[in-house]
């Protein structure tokens, strides 16, 4: 994955770039808004990581300018501004995801993969398949080994998100944001509770487990 890191703070930039390199990705770095606009329109990237506050041209204006220039590369905002209004403004400008500093690197990686996947994902025919687990949105049915599994709407949403990102690590925060629309950290084990209930339905009655816990990072659904 080729990433453009737009960040004026040298320390944060090198932290992000080193981490990307260790995970096998290559990156360019832009220190100012105009520099990022130039690189973003001249070269091709898989994902852009954009800081909100930049010299020359702020992150929101930068993304608007890029979108105006026809650049559709997914954008992840990486920022210390975390009020709801800031988040809404960031996503309205054409950003695809929003991660608030400070962050865990594993969280950043998981989100980058999810963004890349969104870009290259297969056309949605309403049917998701992971191994012998099939989710059909048109018939509103989930089956495993042709046995029907009854899910409530929340379990459906959780499983759908996991299956859309099959083979990728999905963090707890991503699930809270995308499945529950919680933009804060709950004190109770909401995600763990629902994952364990989902497991009881899709994994426990069968020999093999599809839904795995990735320690310290999150969850992943994948064919065994």
């Amino acid at each position: 994955m080729k990433v453009l890191v737009v960040e004026d703070d040298a320390e944060t930039a090198s932290y992000v770039r080193d981490g990307l390199e260790r995970s096998g990705h290559c990156s360019d770095c832009a220190r100012t808004g105009p520099e990022a606009l130039h690189l973003g329109t001249e070269s091709t990237y898989d994902v852009l990581i954009v800081d909100r506050m930049l010299p020359g041209l702020d992150g929101v204006s930068l993304v608007k300018a890029l979108r105006g220039a026809g650049v559709t590369t997914p954008v992840l905002f990486l920022t210390a501004l975390d009020s709801i209004a800031d988040r809404v403004q960031g996503l309205d400008s054409g950003g695809d995801d929003y991660l608030v500093k400070p962050f865990a690197f594993s969280e950043l990686l998981a989100r980058l993969r999810a963004l890349q996947r969104r870009q290259t994902g297969p056309a949605d025919d309403g049917v998701l398949t992971v191994g012998d687990l099939v989710m059909n949105a048109r018939t509103w049915r989930v089956t495993r080994q042709d046995r029907r599994i009854d899910l409530n709407p929340r379990e459906w949403r959780l499983l759908e998100y996991l299956m859309r990102h099959a083979g990728e690590v999905v963090t707890r925060t991503m699930l809270l944001e995308k499945v529950w629309d919680f933009h804060f950290d709950p004190r109770t084990s909401v995600v763990e509770t629902h994952i364990s209930r989902l497991r009881a339905k899709i994994d426990r009655p069968f020999e093999s487990a599809l839904l795995k816990t990735i320690r310290g990072v999150g969850y992943m659904i994948d064919a065994p």
Binding site: D82, S189, V190, S196
Partner: protein, 451 residues
């Protein structure tokens, strides 16, 4: 120094204003009086002349010219008419009688400077035509009018001479009395500036502008004192609250430094502690952000019933795993205007409090119904509840019922609830559920959403 020189300027200015106002009114009074008086006297003189003319014209019409001339001759010597001078001319203009020597013989009123052509004595005169085209003219001494004016002028000069020092003295006295009360307020504020917010401006018993000024200053001081006190409280609490995790963090890092230490769990725990501290700051910022009220642009019409049901279903499993039961009755189709993310966080905080601060076996009830003033939400449990003394304080930042700060949570959950509620105009009441805690939320109704 600057204060007293300012005061002196104010004193001089006020005194001068007083004195000038006093003098002005004295001047107006005297001149007005003089004008009125001389007007009145002139009217008197004119009446005298009219009366005398009428009586002599009467004599003429009864006894003719001969009788008239006799009467005049008589009056010029009898002493009772010594203020009058007479003059009669016949049809051809020949003077028939009288000492009067008018410059012009005319009918109607004239002012004469030298009536008899000798002494300089101003007089008022009136002429009337007689039958057979003769003319009778009578003049009366009007010296008195000028004398009156002179007299009034004299009064004015004397009066002003006496009044001016009096006015000055009065001005100084009133100014000093006024400025002394301002000076009292001044001195009190200087003292408060030097010695701290505890002091107050003395309020006098008289209900006037000065005591109102003093009470207003005191009310302002009260507000500033409460604010600084709460700011001091919050900074104290932040310092106190962060000391514990920072101390533990330091201990972990010290241990990790020791040779042969198993670093990885220590580092993992350190990161956890740092996250905890960062979370505290994030919550504080979030509360401050909401309280500053910037961002109402994220308000939208939303289905409160759906939001409540969604959260009840989400947390029912969490409660169950913690050995508690959750039950809900949620009325359909209740809508309000608000920020979805913030409202979610508010309700989640309350539900999570009910789950985390109660023992296993607790029953948690969630209710949403249409009230007369708008939707009403209830989140109640039959756990230990909050003691009476703490119920008002739980909304304060960093306040915990358990003072040891050992319980989970950063003591900001309910502060955030309060901030979000205030931002939306929602009233939050904590009631005794006997036993347990009952949180009542009254949402504002938006009439535009009722249809």
């Amino acid at each position: 120094m600057r204060l007293s020189s300012l005061l002196r300027t104010a004193l001089v200015r006020l005194t001068l204003i007083y004195a000038l106002a006093f003098l002005g009114s004295a001047l107006v009074l005297t001149i007005g009086g003089a004008l009125l008086l001389s007007g009145y006297m002139e009217r008197d003189i004119r009446e005298d002349i009219e009366t005398e003319l009428a009586s002599l014209v009467g004599v003429f019409s009864r006894t003719g010219m001969v009788g008239l001339l006799d009467a005049i001759e008589e009056r010029e010597v009898d002493g009772r008419h010594k203020d009058f001078d007479y003059w009669v001319q016949d049809r051809s203009g020949t003077v028939m009688a009288g000492r009067l020597r008018p410059t012009r013989a005319v009918e109607g009123w004239t002012r004469l400077v030298t009536p008899t052509g000798e002494e300089d004595e101003p007089a008022l005169a009136k002429g009337v035509g007689l039958a057979d085209a003769g003319l009778l003219m009578i003049a009366r001494d009007s010296e008195i009018l000028y004398e009156t004016n002179d007299f009034m002028l004299e009064i004015l000069i004397w009066g002003l001479g006496l009044a001016f020092p009096l006015a000055l003295a009065g001005g100084i006295a009133t100014s000093i009395a006024t400025l002394r009360r301002i000076e009292i307020i001044n001195r009190a504020t200087v003292e408060i500036r030097n010695k701290g917010m505890g002091g107050r401006v003395p309020v006098s018993d008289i209900d006037d502008e000065f005591s109102r000024l003093a009470s207003n200053i005191n009310a302002m001081l009260e507000g500033i004192e409460t604010l600084t006190e709460s700011m001091r409280q919050v900074s104290n609490d932040i310092a106190h609250d962060l000391r514990t995790p920072l101390t533990r963090l330091r201990q972990d890092l010290e241990r990790a430094q020791e040779p042969g230490a198993d670093k990885s769990p220590l580092i993992a725990r350190s990161i956890e502690r740092i996250d905890e501290i960062l979370e505290t700051f994030a919550s504080l910022l979030r509360i401050a952000n909401i309280e500053s009220g910037s961002g109402r642009q994220t308000f939208e019409a939303l289905d409160l019933s759906e939001l409540f049901r969604d959260l009840a279903e989400t947390f029912a499993g969490v409660a169950e795993d913690a050995g508690k039961s959750m039950h809900w009755i949620i009325a359909e189709g209740l809508r309000i205007l608000g920020d979805r993310a913030l409202l979610k966080q508010m309700v989640v905080n309350i539900i999570e409090n009910a789950i985390t601060h109660t023992p296993p076996g607790t029953r948690i009830e969630i209710e949403l119904r249409a009230g007369p003033q708008g939707p009403e939400g209830v989140i109640a449990d039959n756990g230990p509840g909050i003691p009476d003394w703490a119920r008002e304080k739980v909304f304060r930042r960093f306040f915990r019922v358990d003072e040891s700060r050992q319980s989970n949570g950063n003591g900001l959950g309910l502060s955030l609830v309060a901030a979000i509620a205030r931002y939306h105009g929602i009233s939050v009441a904590l009631q005794d559920n006997a036993p347990g805690l009952r949180v009542e939320l009254r949402f504002p109704r938006d009439r535009n959403l009722d249809q």
